[in-house]
């Protein structure tokens, strides 16, 4: 018994150490953001700044159009979430509760698409977007991200659990498919839609590689690309670390807050995404 509690204490100690190490970079971001340029180059480093310089945050905020970048990210991510809810819902409904001849062909096609790594088609995707004249536009960023095979699978998985009799009952009452989808089936699958919305929002808010490729106009940059150009230019590659850390802090913070508020849904998404990928 005595040994047991010793083991328990040890595993607590171990877990606490790991958890603190994992979170430490966030603490380090915040404290580095509050230091003066002199203090940040001091040896040994101080765990908490002598005189926290809160103005660093305001200075960083003013040094680059961060409001614009964050606004862009929120706008693009929100619109994409709405479109994906609509097209994943409709597609999944057709795949599960409607019959048509091309159903198996479409399902197979989507399954193939699921296996293809999206980054590998960035080059031809870029050419397509340029031929459509959609480079350097909100429309280009939104349209090229407006469908996700993962989202379709996620919703399809949820719709498979909805009994087809409910749909038939709706049809007998004379409701259209659209009505059945959004008033009967959608509410039953709302937890999956919540997961879709949250995961897609986070993914698109953080999206970097693809939006950076297809936009050159600084006004259209999402927050990651904006932060990165601030890091390279405004931060002069490490000469102004406190400002860079302040900018990183207000880029990271909204997501940490969102995560704390929606932890349950996000962790639940793990369960659902494992299910979705089983096909």
């Amino acid at each position: 018994m005595h040994q047991r509690s010793g083991v328990r204490l040890l595993s607590h100690l171990f877990l606490a150490t790991v958890a603190l190490l994992m979170a430490f970079p966030f603490y380090w971001t915040a404290t580095s953001a509050l230091k003066t340029n002199d203090e940040i180059w001091q040896f040994p480093p101080t765990l908490w700044p002598h005189a926290p310089l809160w103005s660093n945050f305001a200075d960083a905020w003013a040094a680059a159009p961060f409001a614009r970048y964050i606004g862009n990210s929120i706008l693009v991510a929100s619109v994409i979430v709405v479109i994906q809810i609509i097209n994943s819902g409709m597609m999944a409904y057709a795949m599960t509760h409607m019959s048509f001849r091309l159903k198996n062909a479409f399902t197979a096609l989507i399954l193939i698409g699921y296996m293809v790594p999206v980054t590998a088609v960035y080059l031809p995707g870029y050419i397509v977007l340029s031929n459509l004249g959609l480079l350097d536009s909100y429309a280009g960023i939104i349209l090229s991200n407006c469908v996700s095979i993962f989202s379709i699978f996620l919703i399809r998985q949820a719709f498979l659990q909805v009994s087809h009799e409910l749909v038939e009952a709706g049809q007998i009452d004379g409701a259209s498919h659209l009505r059945i989808l959004w008033t009967i089936v959608f509410p039953l699958a709302r937890s999956s839609f919540a997961v879709l919305a949250l995961i897609t929002f986070i993914e698109q808010y953080n999206n970097y590689f693809w939006p950076m490729l297809i936009t050159k106009n600084p006004d259209l940059q999402l927050v990651s690309a904006g932060l990165r150009s601030f890091f390279v230019q405004g931060g002069a590659y490490g000469l102004k670390w406190p400002l860079i850390m302040a900018a990183s802090a207000f880029t990271i913070l909204p997501l940490l807050v969102l995560f704390l508020l929606t932890q349950k849904t996000i962790m639940q998404s793990v369960n659902l995404s494992a299910g979705a990928s089983k096909g």
Binding site: M22, A120, L123, G238, V270
Partner: protein
């Protein structure tokens, strides 16, 4: 009768259009197009594309830089997938029992996963700063000499891997927590009655029962490590001396820096083939393991 059949057929197709149009435009068509481009020589600007057969592929396999890229890709995959899975499993085992503070530990360990890779990579490049960065300060405090993390070809890949593992370990932990929670307690009790100790129970009951999760994570993590870009772009840009240049990064550089569209497309095809092979493997084995449980 035929008319209503046609009408319902049409309605169903209408339901698929909002997804199928963008999918065709930004997914299926580019997929076909990149296959076509991999047999062409093109510099992106000129109006003509010349057919060169398999030359792009041949050129790749004659290029020593490409072999370096393959080596880096393999090291990156192994060096990120294994630690993420082992750390995830270990942490999940420790956290699977109800304990005080469990939720807090879980939250802290998972939190890096939701943050933007670019922003946290910038934070890590400050931690790796060679003169006053936190990492070298810790080494100095331990009496060791500092490392030029991102500038030393021997350490750059390890530095990128540390960030990658830090970001994903909590994610795989959550998968394992769910899987371990689904292990029926009677199995463990039965094993205990047979005199099994903790390690035996893990080895012969838990580990086999969570093997579908292990396999799923292996495939998903491998595919995502083949696609890693953000942290490499911020921390090292594929350098120094190509020591962090993965296939994807090589693809990106040959397409958008060197404008060797044909060669870049050939790299893309190899990446696609690798991912499809892994996914197919997972489908086949997934079917089997579903039978099993």
């Amino acid at each position: 009768m035929r008319r209503t059949r046609l009408a319902s057929e049409g309605k169903a197709l209408l339901f698929t259009l909002p997804a199928m149009i963008p999918l065709s435009l930004f997914w299926f068509y580019p997929l076909g197009y990149v296959i076509y481009l991999s047999f062409m020589e093109w510099d992106f600007m000129s109006p003509v594309k010349t057919s060169v057969g398999l030359d792009n592929y041949r050129y790749l396999f004659d290029n020593p830089e490409f072999y370096q890229t393959l080596r880096v890709t393999l090291l990156f995959c192994v060096g990120s997938v294994l630690p993420v899975m082992v750390a995830g499993l270990g942490l999940a085992l420790l956290l699977s029992r109800k304990r005080k503070g469990g939720a807090i530990y879980r939250t802290l360990i998972f939190s890096p996963w939701v943050t933007p890779t670019v922003a946290v990579s910038i934070v890590w490049s400050w931690i790796y700063e060679p003169d006053v960065g936190l990492a070298n300060n810790v080494l100095h405090a331990l009496g060791l000499s500092g490392i030029r993390w991102l500038e030393d070809p021997n350490w750059a890949l390890i530095s990128v891997l540390i960030v990658t593992v830090w970001k994903s370990a909590g994610w795989s932990m959550i998968f394992y927590l769910v899987a371990i929670g689904n292990v029926p307690p009677d199995y463990l009790e039965a094993a205990e009655l047979d005199g099994a100790n903790g390690w035996d129970k893990f080895r012969h009951v838990t580990l086999p029962l969570i093997s579908p999760t292990t396999f799923f994570l292996f495939v998903v993590l491998t595919i995502s490590s083949l696609q890693a870009y953000d942290q490499i772009n911020v921390l090292t840009q594929g350098g120094p001396a190509g020591s962090t240049r993965t296939m994807l990064y090589f693809y990106y550089l040959s397409a958008f820096d060197a404008f060797q569209i044909g060669e870049a497309s050939a790299v893309a095809i190899l990446l696609i083939v690798g991912c499809v092979a892994l996914s197919l493997l997972s489908f086949v084995i997934g079917r089997r393991t579903i039978h099993y449980s």
